[in-house]
C-alpha cells in the first residue's frame, strides 16, 4: 500500500469529465452524489482512484490481490478479484466488502484485476465517464497524461484546439453506420497474395487512422500512379461507403505494375506470388511516398517518421562477443518484420520424438531460437586483429507498434533436386504475445518487477495470413480482427470466424499490435 498517498496534499483541483451529448454525466446516481459533495471529496476520490490504478497496474499483482480481513490479522492472497476501497486504503475480499461498507459507509470499490469501479448501492459495476477515462488512459499509455513522452509522439500528440468536439464535428464527415470496413477484394487473376496483405493493412488501426485522418490525401498528391493515393482511395471505399460487395483494387494493381522497383521485378507478373514479398514491396513503396524518400536500406539503422516506419519498423541489435579477448561489438539494424526459420527446429524436434511427422511447435519456441539463444560464428576481431571464434546473439532493441512475423514455410532445399519445399509443421501462436523476453532490455537488466515495461511489450494478434496448397501453386486466405470479432477473408468472400478457426490455421504471416503505447 506504499503507493497510496495518505493525504491529498496536492492543491490541484480535479475536474470531472465535461458533459458530452449522448452520454450521461455520471456512471450512476451514487457517483453523482460523490462528485457533488465538495471539491475536496472529488479530489480525494480521483486521487485515490489513480493511486489504486497505479497499484494494480504498476506493481506486482500480489499487492492488489492480497486482502486483509476486516477483523483480526487474517491475510488472504487470492487468484480471483479482491476489492480496493475507493475511500480508504483497505483491500477486501468479496465477502468482506459488505461488512466494510456497512461499518464505514464506504460504498465504492475497485476490482483488483480490471480496475473497474463497483458501486455497492447499485450492486453493480458502474462505468463512470470520469473514472473510465482515467482507467483507459492508464492502461493505454502507462500514465495519466496521454502525451508525456514516448516514441509515438506523433500518434498521440493532442492539439487542444483540434481535440475540441465542436471542432471535430465541423471538420469531419460521418460515414454511414453501414460502412464497417468489411469488404472482400476481388481476385484479379492470381492476386490473392495481394488481397491478404491489403486486408491486413485495411484492418490495421494505425494505418486506418492515418489514412482516414487525411494522412495522405490523394487529391493533393501529384505523383502519377501513386500507391499511397490508391491506398487512400481504398480506405475511403472501405470505411465511407455502404457497399458490401467486393472491392476492385484496380488502382493498387496498376500502381504495382507501373512501379519500378528493381528488387521486386520478378514479383510483377501475372503468376502466383509470395504474400510476404508483396508486403515488403508495399511497405517500401508507401514509405517512399510518405516518408523521407530515402530507400530503406536493409541492414542499416534507417529511421524515418513516415507512417510505415511508425507502424512496422523496429530495431534489432546483434552483439558479437569475441571468445578470445571477450571484446563486444554491437550492431543495430532496423527491421520491417521478423522472419523465423522453421526448418532447423522442425528437424530437431522430429529427431527427438522419433516421429516421421514433425510435431507441432510454438511461436515462442521459434522466437527463443532466434532472439534468446546465441550461436557461434567466426569474425574478425578488432582488438585481437585476427579471425576469432565468437558468440553472436541477436535481440530486439526497439519494438514496433505493429509486429509482423513471417514463418518461413518456403524453404529452399539445397542438393535435393534444388527444389523449394513447403514446411507444413503447425506452429501454435497465441492471441496475446509477450515480447519482453526477446528484447535487449530483458537481457541486460532486471525486468521482473517492471510491470509497465511488460505491458508495453504485450501484443495482441491482429491478422493472420494463411497459405493453402503447394509450394508453387495454392491460395492465400486471411483472418483479421475487428474489435473482438474475427473475420475470414477469402478474396471477395467475408465470413465470421471463431477464435479457434484463427488459432488452428497454419499461419504464414502474423501481425501483432502493441496493446499499450507506454
Amino acid at each position: 500500500m506504499a503507493a497510496r498517498p495518505g493525504t491529498p496534499a496536492s492543491p490541484k483541483n480535479f475536474k470531472i469529465q465535461p458533459p458530452q451529448p449522448g452520454q450521461p454525466l455520471y456512471g450512476c446516481e451514487h457517483v453523482q452524489r460523490l462528485f457533488n459533495q465538495d471539491q475536496a471529496t472529488t479530489n480525494t476520490s480521483i486521487q485515490h482512484y489513480k493511486a489504486i490504478l497505479r497499484n494494480i497496474l504498476d506493481y506486482s499483482p500480489i499487492n492488489a490481490q492480497t486482502a486483509k480481513a476486516a477483523e483480526g490479522p487474517t491475510i488472504t492472497t487470492s487468484l480471483t478479484s479482491t476489492y480496493l476501497c475507493l475511500q480508504c486504503p483497505s483491500t477486501l475480499t468479496e465477502d468482506d466488502c459488505v461488512k466494510h461498507g456497512n461499518k464505514k459507509s464506504h460504498r465504492f470499490y475497485v476490482d483488483s484485476r480490471s480496475g473497474a469501479l463497483y458501486c455497492q448501492m447499485c450492486d453493480d459495476i458502474v462505468w463512470d465517464p470520469t473514472f473510465e477515462d482515467l482507467r483507459l488512459t492508464k492502461i493505454g499509455t502507462g500514465s495519466f497524461t496521454a502525451s508525456r513522452k514516448r516514441k509515438q509522439d506523433d500518434l498521440l500528440a493532442v492539439d487542444p484546439v483540434k481535440d475540441n468536439p465542436q471542432y471535430i464535428s465541423t471538420n469531419t464527415t460521418v460515414a454511414s453506420c453501414k460502412a464497417s470496413g468489411l469488404r472482400g477484394i476481388y481476385n484479379a487473376g492470381a492476386t490473392c497474395y495481394q488481397n491478404v496483405v491489403l486486408q491486413s493493412f485495411l484492418h490495421n488501426p494505425v494505418l486506418r487512422n492515418f489514412y482516414l485522418s487525411d494522412g495522405h490525401q490523394s487529391s493533393n498528391c501529384e505523383v502519377p500512379y501513386c500507391l499511397s493515393c490508391a491506398m487512400d482511395d481504398m480506405f475511403q471505399d472501405f470505411y465511407a461507403v455502404e457497399n458490401t460487395n467486393g472491392y476492385t483494387a484496380a488502382n493498387i494493381l496498376s500502381g504495382f505494375w507501373i512501379s519500378e522497383k528493381k528488387a521486386f521485378e520478378n514479383l510483377v507478373t501475372t503468376k502466383e506470388q509470395d504474400a510476404h514479398e508483396f508486403f515488403q514491396f508495399l511497405a517500401e513503396e508507401l514509405h517512399e511516398r510518405n516518408g523521407d524518400g530515402k530507400k530503406p536500406e536493409t541492414g542499416s539503422e534507417h529511421s524515418c517518421n513516415c507512417i510505415i516506419h511508425q507502424t512496422f519498423y523496429g530495431k534489432l541489435q546483434s552483439t558479437t562477443t569475441c571468445q578470445h579477448c571477450a571484446g563486444v561489438t554491437n550492431q543495430v539494424q532496423s527491421f520491417l518484420d521478423l522472419s523465423l526459420p522453421l526448418e532447423n527446429l522442425t528437424q530437431k524436434k522430429g529427431k527427438k520424438s522419433g516421429n516421421a511427422k514433425a510435431p507441432a511447435m510454438t511461436l515462442q519456441e521459434c522466437l527463443d531460437e532466434e532472439y534468446i539463444k546465441s550461436d557461434k560464428c567466426e569474425y574478425r576481431c578488432h582488438s585481437c586483429n585476427s579471425m576469432q571464434q565468437a558468440r553472436r546473439q541477436t535481440a530486439i532493441k526497439c519494438l514496433p507498434n505493429v509486429l509482423s512475423i513471417q514463418l518461413k514455410r518456403f524453404e529452399f532445399k539445397q542438393g535435393r533436386n534444388e527444389r523449394a519445399a513447403k514446411i507444413e509443421t503447425p506452429v501454435h501462436f497465441p492471441l496475446q504475445l509477450n515480447m519482453l523476453p526477446y528484447t535487449e532490455r530483458a537481457r541486460t537488466g532486471d525486468t521482473k518487477e517492471n510491470f509497465e515495461l511488460a505491458r508495453s511489450c504485450t501484443y495482441d494478434l491482429l491478422s493472420v495470413v494463411v497459405h493453402v496448397g503447394e509450394i508453387d501453386t495454392g491460395h492465400y486466405v486471411s483472418y483479421c480482427r475487428v474489435g473482438d470479432q474475427w473475420f475470414a477473408f477469402n478474396d471477395h468472400k467475408v465470413e465470421l470466424a471463431s477464435k479457434s478457426d484463427v488459432l488452428g490455421a497454419k499461419a504464414y504471416l502474423l501481425f501483432y499490435i502493441v496493446r499499450s503505447l507506454a
Binding site: 455520471y26 465541423t170 453506420c177 487473376g189 487529391s219 505523383v223
Partner: protein
C-alpha cells in the same frame, strides 16, 4: 452460486475430497479460480459494452425530448428545461442517470444515427425476424450462415457452367450493375438478388473496361512486361544492343522498322486477346438501352470520411460527428473529341497528366450544398453520375 459452494468452487469445479493430498486440493482450487477469472473477464467486457450502450441510449432519448420540448432549432444548444423519464433526468443541460440502465432501458440506440440497433441477425445462426415497423440503424449484426457472407450475400460458385456466352451477355450481364452498391437492391434480373458477381474495372493505362478477373492479366500485357509485347521489346533491345556492338545478327528486319511498331497498336493487333478482354465492352456497345453506362468508372461518387483533421491523432473515432459532406469528384477529360461515348479516365492519370485541371475533389460544406461548376458539359456528366449511382449515397446529411 452459494448453494453449491460446499461441493464446488466459484466456477463450478468440484472441490477435492477432504482426504485428498494437499497438492490435489491446491490444484482443484487453482483451476477453479482460473476458470472463474476467465468468466469474470468475459463478463466484465460484455457488461461494459452493454451497460454503456444502454446508458447512452437513455441519454440520447432524453436529450431528444429536451430538444423537442424547448423548441429551439439550434443544434448543440443546451435547452433550459427539466425532463424526467424512467431512466434519466435532464437538468441544466446535463443528463443524470436514474437507476441502473440495464434495468431501465431495454433497447439500444446507435450513438451516431440515433436509430435503434437491430440486435439479432436477420438470417443464419441466431436469426430473428426484425420488426417491419421500425427503421433500424444500418449497422446490422453480422450473419453467420454457411455459403453466405456476413451481409447475407452469396457468390457464384466456381466450376463449369459459369462461362458466359456472347449472346447471353447482351441481355444478361450489365457490368455497371454488378459494381453498383447493393446487390440486394434489384440489380440483375435473372440472378438471385444477393449474389455477388464480378464487376469490371478500368485499366488506368488504356482506359478500357476489363472484367476484374482478367485485370491482372490485362495489366500484365498492357502495362507490364509479361505479354507478347514484352518479348518483342526484349527482342528489340537485344537486336539493338547487338547492332550497336557491331556484331552480326541474322534478323533481316532493320532495327528501324522494329522500332516503328507503335506500342498501343500491337495490343489491338492481338485479336484473341482483345476478344477476351473486351468482351464486356462489345456486349455493352450492342446494348441499346444504356450506351453510356459502361464508360463510367464504377465508383464515381466518393465520399470522404475523415476522422479528424490533418495532423491530429484519429484514435477517437467515436467522436466523428457532424454533417456528411459529399465529395463530388470531377475529372479532367483528355479525349473530349469523342463526345458520343464519354470516356472517363481514372482520375489519377487524367488529372495528373492533363496539366491544370479543375479541382478533383471538392468538399461541400454543410452550408453550401451547391458548388460552382466549371463547364456545362461537366454538369451533365456529374448529373449522370449522381443519378446512376445514387444508390451509393448513404443516409442523407443530418
Amino acid at each position: 452460486m452459494s448453494s453449491d459452494a460446499d461441493r464446488t468452487g466459484k466456477a463450478g469445479v468440484i472441490v477435492a475430497p477432504d482426504d485428498a493430498s494437499p497438492i490435489d486440493k491446491l490444484a482443484h482450487s487453482v483451476l477453479d479460480d482460473l476458470l472463474y477469472n476467465i468468466v469474470h473477464d468475459l463478463l466484465i467486457k460484455v457488461h461494459r459494452d452493454e451497460k454503456t450502450a444502454r446508458a447512452n441510449t437513455a441519454a440520447i432519448k432524453i436529450e431528444k425530448m429536451a430538444a423537442e420540448a424547448s423548441e429551439t432549432s439550434t443544434p448543440d444548444s443546451r435547452p433550459d428545461v427539466r425532463i424526467e423519464t424512467d431512466a434519466a433526468i435532464y437538468e441544466d443541460g446535463k443528463v443524470l442517470l436514474k437507476g441502473n440502465p440495464l434495468k431501465t432501458t431495454k433497447d439500444i440506440l446507435c450513438p451516431r444515427c440515433h436509430l435503434p440497433r437491430l440486435l439479432c441477425p436477420t438470417d443464419g445462426k441466431g436469426a430473428k425476424k426484425p420488426d417491419p415497423g421500425i427503421i433500424y440503424c444500418k449497422k446490422h449484426p453480422y450473419i453467420e450462415k454457411p455459403g453466405f457472407d456476413i451481409y447475407g450475400q452469396t457468390w457464384v460458385a466456381p466450376g463449369p457452367g459459369r462461362g458466359k456466352k456472347k449472346k447471353d451477355m447482351e441481355k444478361k450481364l450489365d457490368p455497371n450493375d454488378a459494381s453498383s452498391p447493393a446487390p440486394g437492391e434489384g440489380t440483375a434480373k435473372d440472378r438471385p438478388p444477393n449474389v455477388l458477381s464480378f464487376p469490371s474495372a478500368t485499366c488506368s493505362k488504356c482506359k478500357r473496361c476489363i472484367l476484374v478477373t482478367r485485370l491482372n492479366n490485362h495489366m500484365g500485357s498492357c502495362i507490364g512486361n509479361s505479354g507478347r509485347n514484352a518479348s518483342r521489346a526484349a527482342a528489340q533491345k537485344i537486336s539493338n544492343g547487338g547492332s550497336n556492338g557491331g556484331s552480326q545478327n541474322n534478323d533481316n528486319t532493320p532495327p528501324g522498322s522494329q522500332k516503328g511498331t507503335p506500342l498501343p497498336a500491337s495490343r489491338a493487333a492481338s485479336p484473341r486477346k482483345r476478344d477476351g478482354d473486351e468482351f464486356d465492352e462489345d456486349a455493352d456497345e450492342s446494348d441499346p438501352t444504356n450506351p453510356k453506362k459502361k464508360k463510367l468508372k464504377p465508383t464515381t461518387l466518393t465520399k470522404k470520411v475523415i476522422l479528424k483533421t490533418k495532423g491530429t491523432p484519429a484514435n477517437k473515432k467515436d467522436k466523428v460527428k457532424g454533417n456528411s459532406m459529399l465529395n463530388v469528384e470531377q475529372r479532367a477529360d483528355d479525349d473530349d473529341s469523342k463526345d458520343s461515348t464519354v470516356q472517363v479516365a481514372p482520375k489519377k492519370s487524367a488529372s495528373k497528366g492533363g496539366g491544370p485541371s479543375p479541382a478533383k475533389k471538392l468538399k461541400l460544406g454543410p452550408t453550401k450544398p451547391q458548388l460552382p461548376i466549371p463547364a456545362p458539359k461537366k454538369v451533365n456528366r456529374d448529373r449522370d453520375v449522381e443519378s446512376e449511382s445514387s444508390g451509393t449515397l448513404s443516409s442523407p446529411p443530418q
